[in-house]
């Protein structure tokens, strides 16, 4: 059946999320840019110090892209072409870094390669600390995308290529590479964006020299009260981010097509050369994706018994309660906004691109803008929860959009001819089929809220202490005891993220329901 045009347009559903974006992003950023733009001068860009900051921000993002591609593509190729025990589980666990709060990852990197690190190698004040942290987050992302791409090459096509005389390498180059390329491009866009506008990792790992523009904006605002320079930098960040996000939305649109694929052909691992290859891949993967987390847990377990007493302190209980409370409220709001925006964005490239606006603008800029735009509400719970929801809801919206893209048009059409109104079609067909995706999106949203750091730093009040801000407080105080307390608290945060991860990756029951 040909593609059927919509009878009813759901774009009006986007009104509430658009209003929300206007209030939470549009107005605050305009205010920020106005304050900054007034004092903007080209001289700022010729400042050697800021040039280095901006250059390094771009360079570390680009370097991360190159490194993830060089490391990730071969790894993905192996994971896509060989069958071995635990392969499916491994692909799922690859999502784990994605839900890890940046504070946990940052502490993990420090616990490994910081002063007195587990590895014995001190990389502090080198660029490698930040790059390693970037790889922890982004290598799994690229591998997942590439494996998805490889899985879209039907086994028959590869077999044809091989029987027509193509070697493994030629078959990769002529048959698989063209299919995988857009998948990689879309992942690399995201990776660049994440690294470029990253804050938490750069704050913890960058040190004096290798911090990014985001950290610079934070210090300008929080310590130097230099709003003009901060606004000018925010303007630059915003423009660069917008270009990349647009590119990403365009590539994603090309990828959006219903899944109809034959199961790919995977060969079992045979013989020592292949076993060694697989082992090498797994070790490499463990080094980048698992080692920091293990280091946090190890250091926490080896910590003094006294350090563990931090869990019983009033501060900790308060922070834990707040984290859960704020996250739950934010999740409710994010789910409603994500559903509305996701459903509305089905046929509109513009709405799809807008969906990524909260990813694109840095949390630091948003939080700073919110402070400027709504000084009267700066210490209200509503603003804090709204800011959390802003950062979390694109996950829900993205899940809804991709689930809707994967839904064959014949199913809603069949339901319509069977007498279901559009609303009933949504309730009885689309929603049940989207539920696994929705659940995953919500778990990502929850993990985002639980691990949120930048906005909490700006908008929080002492009595609104969250786990992340508490950890940062401990890190800011001198002494080994405080570091150990931070590690113990990070382990708690790690376990919370693990819970969210289980909710995401727990297999859905597959049997059909009776009605």
């Amino acid at each position: 059946m040909q593609k059927v045009l919509p009878l009813s347009d759901f774009r009006w559903l986007a009104l509430p999320p658009l209003l929300f974006l206007l209030l939470l992003v549009g107005l605050p950023l305009s205010r920020l840019l106005y304050e900054g733009g007034l004092a903007f001068s080209p001289a700022l860009l010729s400042d050697a110090y800021l040039q280095w900051r901006l250059g390094w921000s771009l360079l570390q993002a680009a370097a991360t892209c190159v490194l993830t591609l060089l490391l990730g593509l071969p790894l993905a190729w192996v994971l896509a072409h060989f069958e071995f025990r635990g392969r499916a589980l491994l692909l799922r666990v690859l999502m784990l870094p994605f839900v890890m709060p940046t504070l946990v990852a940052g502490l993990g990197v420090l616990a490994l390669f910081g002063p007195h690190g587990v590895s014995g190698l001190n990389l502090q004040d080198t660029p490698w600390l930040l790059l390693y942290g970037n790889l922890f987050y982004n290598l799994p992302l690229l591998i997942r995308a590439a494996v998805d791409g490889f899985d879209h090459v039907p086994a028959s096509r590869l077999m044809v290529a091989r029987t027509l005389g193509a070697s493994r390498w030629r078959a990769f180059w002529r048959v698989e590479w063209p299919v995988v390329r857009p998948w990689l491009a879309s992942a690399l866009c995201l990776i660049f964006l994440y690294c470029f506008s990253g804050f938490g990792l750069a704050l913890l790992l960058g040190g004096q020299r290798y911090a990014t523009v985001e950290v610079e904006i934070y210090s300008l605002v929080a310590y130097e009260l230099n709003l003009a320079d901060a606004g000018a930098l925010a303007l630059l960040m915003l423009l660069l981010g917008a270009v990349i996000a647009l590119l990403y939305a365009l590539i994603e649109r090309r990828l959006a097509r219903p899944d109809k694929r034959s199961p790919p052909l995977r060969q079992p691992v045979q013989g020592w050369p292949q076993r060694l290859l697989l082992l090498a891949c797994l070790l490499l993967l463990a080094l980048f994706a698992a080692a920091p987390l293990l280091a946090v847990l190890l250091r926490a377990l080896l910590a003094d018994a006294a350090a563990w007493r931090v869990l019983l302190q009033d501060d900790t209980l308060l922070a834990l309660g707040n984290t859960l409370r704020f996250s739950l409220l934010a999740l409710l709001l994010a789910t409603a906004l994500g559903l509305l925006h996701g459903l509305a964005a089905q046929r509109s490239a513009g709405l799809r691109a807008l969906m990524f606006l909260p990813f694109m603008v840095s949390p630091v800029c948003v939080a700073f803008g919110l402070l400027l735009a709504y000084p009267a509400y700066s210490a209200t719970l509503a603003l804090l929860v709204a800011a959390y929801a802003l950062l979390a809801y694109p996950f829900v919206a993205k899940a809804v959009v991709s689930a809707r893209d994967a839904l064959p048009a014949a199913l809603p059409n069949a339901a319509r001819t069977l007498g279901a109104s559009p609303w009933r079609v949504f309730w009885r067909v689309s929603l049940p089929l989207m539920r696994p995706a929705l659940r995953r999106g919500m778990a990502f949203a929850a993990a985002t809220a639980v691990g949120e750091f930048a906005v909490s730093l700006f908008l929080s009040r002492p009595e609104w202490l969250t786990l992340t801000t508490l950890i940062y407080q401990h890190l800011g105080r001198p002494g080994a005891a405080n570091l150990e307390a931070a590690l113990v608290l990070s382990s708690v945060l790690l376990l919370l993220a693990l819970l969210a991860f289980m909710a995401i990756e727990w297999p859905e029951k597959t049997h059909a329901r009776t009605s």
Binding site: A414, L418, G419
Partner: protein
């Protein structure tokens, strides 16, 4: 009765339907036949209300239903890939429409089980759709379509995803069911065998227009153009006429012609000979082959044409 009046539809400037009109009587089956991508499925979507035409009306039972949403049109539709809901079991799929029309869940389920039994799937109600074979899925889709007693039945290439043997069986089965129903039925297909096997009338669609409508016999006897003649399966089509198989005369008294190609078939063979003004393609049955030596490439075959039996347009 279904009546389509002057329907027009264009996608991004490309005309898909171009002033199409057609009537289908109650109890009649019309097959809409045309090559892929000629707007057949779009026409069904327009009739079902899933697509809005730029112009024209759809009347059903003396009522203009052009402005009704799909769920109020009281029609049933079967889709190419069956479009079973993967999250529901077989009986819940069949009961879907009943529940939408207000039948309580338990009663709907009961009727669904009965409908499944009627298509030969007794006791399979609790099966998940992916556990069913292609033919079983098709029968679930059929039960789901017919349980609501539709006033119009639309079939969108319902056999295209099935293998040949199963297809024939299901076509025979469906023909019996259709004759028992007193509703207009519109079948879309690109397969002329399917169309001629099921339909009372055949409507041939080209470039968004119906270029010929008639019984299978009429269409085969008087194709409206060279394109139609080729499309309905004639091998020997010239600019202004076609030679139907029955026009060929074999054997004594006919001129000898050079055999250019011989291709064996399940029954008999297919032969290409140098005819008058071009090659002729003949299908020789086993019975015809028994009365003469088996044709050899480069050999000769005595064959002529009864000019009175030619089809002209």
């Amino acid at each position: 009765m279904l009546e389509l009046r002057d329907l027009a539809l264009a996608f991004a400037g490309r005309r898909v339907l171009d002033g199409l009109s057609l009537q289908v009587a109650a109890g009649e089956t019309v097959a809409l036949l045309g090559p892929s991508g000629e707007g057949k499925s779009s026409l069904l979507a327009v009739i079902a209300g899933l697509l809005r035409p730029q112009r024209g009306q759809v009347w059903l039972g003396g009522r203009d239903i052009s402005r009704l949403p799909p769920e109020q049109r009281q029609l049933a539709m079967m889709f190419q890939d069956h479009a079973l809901f993967p999250h529901l079991d077989a009986a819940a799929n069949v009961a879907f429409g009943l529940q939408e029309r207000g039948v309580p869940r338990a009663a709907a389920r009961q009727r669904a089980e009965a409908a499944l039994a009627a298509v030969g799937l007794a006791g399979r109600g609790a099966a998940a759709c992916h556990q069913l074979s292609g033919g079983e899925q098709q029968r679930v889709a059929l039960a789901r379509a017919l349980i609501g007693e539709p006033a119009l039945f639309l079939l969108d290439e319902p056999f295209s995803s099935l293998d040949t043997h199963l297809k024939q069986q299901l076509i025979d089965d469906l023909r019996q069911r259709l004759s028992a129903m007193a509703v207009p039925t519109l079948l879309v297909t690109h397969d002329r065998h399917e169309a001629f096997a099921l339909a009372d009338r055949v409507a041939i669609l080209q470039h968004g227009r119906l270029i010929q409508v008639g019984t299978p016999g009429e269409v085969l006897a008087r194709p409206a153009s060279a394109w139609v003649a080729r499309f309905v399966g004639f091998d020997n089509v010239a600019a202004d006429h076609a030679i139907p198989p029955a026009a060929f005369r074999l054997g004594d008294g006919q001129p000898l012609r050079t055999v250019k190609l011989v291709e064996p078939r399940v029954e008999g063979c297919r032969v290409v000979v140098a005819g008058d003004g071009g090659d002729w393609v003949l299908s020789l049955s086993a019975r015809e082959l028994a009365t003469q030596p088996y044709p050899q490439r480069g050999g000769h075959l005595a064959v002529g044409v009864d000019r009175a039996a030619l089809l002209r347009w």
